[in-house]
Symmetry: C2
Subunit: 302 residues, 2 copies
Amino acid sequence: MKESKKNALEVLSEQYVGLFDDHLRKLLEIRNGIPVRLAESMDYSLLAGGKRLRPALCLAAAERCGVAPEKALPMAVAIEFIHTASLIHDDLPCMDNDDLRRGMPTNHKVFGESLALIAGDALLIWAFGHALSHLPDMGIPYDRVARASALLAEASGPMGMCGGQTLDTDTASRRLEEGFVYSIAAAKTAALIRVSVVSGAILGDISDTDLRCYYDYGTHLGLAFQIVDDILDVTASRDELGKTPHKDEAQDKLTFVSAYGLERAKSLAIEESEEAMRALEELFPEGDLLMDLASFLAERTF
Amino acid sequence: MKESKKNALEVLSEQYVGLFDDHLRKLLEIRNGIPVRLAESMDYSLLAGGKRLRPALCLAAAERCGVAPEKALPMAVAIEFIHTASLIHDDLPCMDNDDLRRGMPTNHKVFGESLALIAGDALLIWAFGHALSHLPDMGIPYDRVARASALLAEASGPMGMCGGQTLDTDTASRRLEEGFVYSIAAAKTAALIRVSVVSGAILGDISDTDLRCYYDYGTHLGLAFQIVDDILDVTASRDELGKTPHKDEAQDKLTFVSAYGLERAKSLAIEESEEAMRALEELFPEGDLLMDLASFLAERTF
């Protein structure tokens, strides 16, 4: 019998996601002082079957920079908290108004708008509290803890993810210039994917030159990821997506498909994926799982 | 001519708020990479005439622990960012649905719900990014930076302010036991006021015993502040409050007035204020502005 070869996402998942999920579940069992309903609301979205791409990237980058994945877990948790908060808030009626996420009712459909709002806020804040309290316990020096956490804030705050959400949803912020869709994607999506990689790497003893390679890798991987997401919104079914398809078009969103057309968007995804691989070539002349991952992500659209 | 004596809040303001406001204004002029409309929305609420009690407490505590107020500014900014974010989100239609804040239209009335939501998120995240990036520039050692920022997260996250907001707004979380209103106030209000004091103190070289005094002071000051707030909601006019009065009653909120009646609430405010003063007695046997402040806050209700 022939075993089918695992793809890079499956390998990444095998190596890091089990570790991450076990840790997260244990962490969520400790609820000192968190009101029960708030804990339930946060848990619901944290355990809703996300692929854990961002935490896996963080743990993988940390390991490649000499930090055992176990020691980077608080950083990975912080990133997943922020990502989950952004999904809860994005789904709210005043934002994308979506009823379905990963095949399940969205947070506010289950817990109400007010608790969903608070749960998102709580996760954003807890992210930093968790990283800042627990990375030092893992023996990570305080200067690296502070630097990695500051980078996470930069990537997710007004200059990063929140800035991108503004460009994406606020019609008064929309600009007509060529390439504006890149500005949205760079801030909304690529910044958090990049910092997943960079914040893991920076926990180790890494030179600025090497860090730059991970930075560029993360940027291009993140852009490829968003382009593919835009393509799948058009080409995939509700079952394949686990969320409502054709939402972008219905909401008149500016996407890589609306800006460049489907075929050109597919080439752009491949270009970004190749740039991502190229960024790591010097560090890994024999190749690396992170490079395979970039290649695999771009292939998802075919 | 006889000059009228300044009250403790005016003295605190004179000593710290000018410094803070100048710093904040300069900081907001630098907008690298923040979308214009998002910056406008954040600025609107940040510059809406808050009293800056929390940042002033932070700077005052830092100074009393040997840290020049100028060096503690990034921590004070972080605290005000989080406080402002909580006001923006609290005013949203799915929360308190308030149109007026500090005598001006609330953020979502000016910028729309979706941008108000994002502006709050952005401020929560930026708070940590700002403290973590700029406190080290001020020469504060990394371990103190991380510890103070972690305490800020604990005070404002699911175990603190967000937890308190849950107890305050989520009717399914309400409990009937005596003293539940204290649980709400401790988490919703007192935690952030306490951490304003504690996070300033901890930037200096302070013993655990002395830190405990500031911790207890902050707790009781915060409780006194919330009790007074509940009383003023009943007794003050729209002009005096700068926001809609009698909101608590209209929203069937559990307050110190609804739980204990107006007269008993007034005594409780005085009790908490006296506890706050007592907490600092050993550190300041000759008295201190922070002790006068506790006394003054409780007097506001008469």
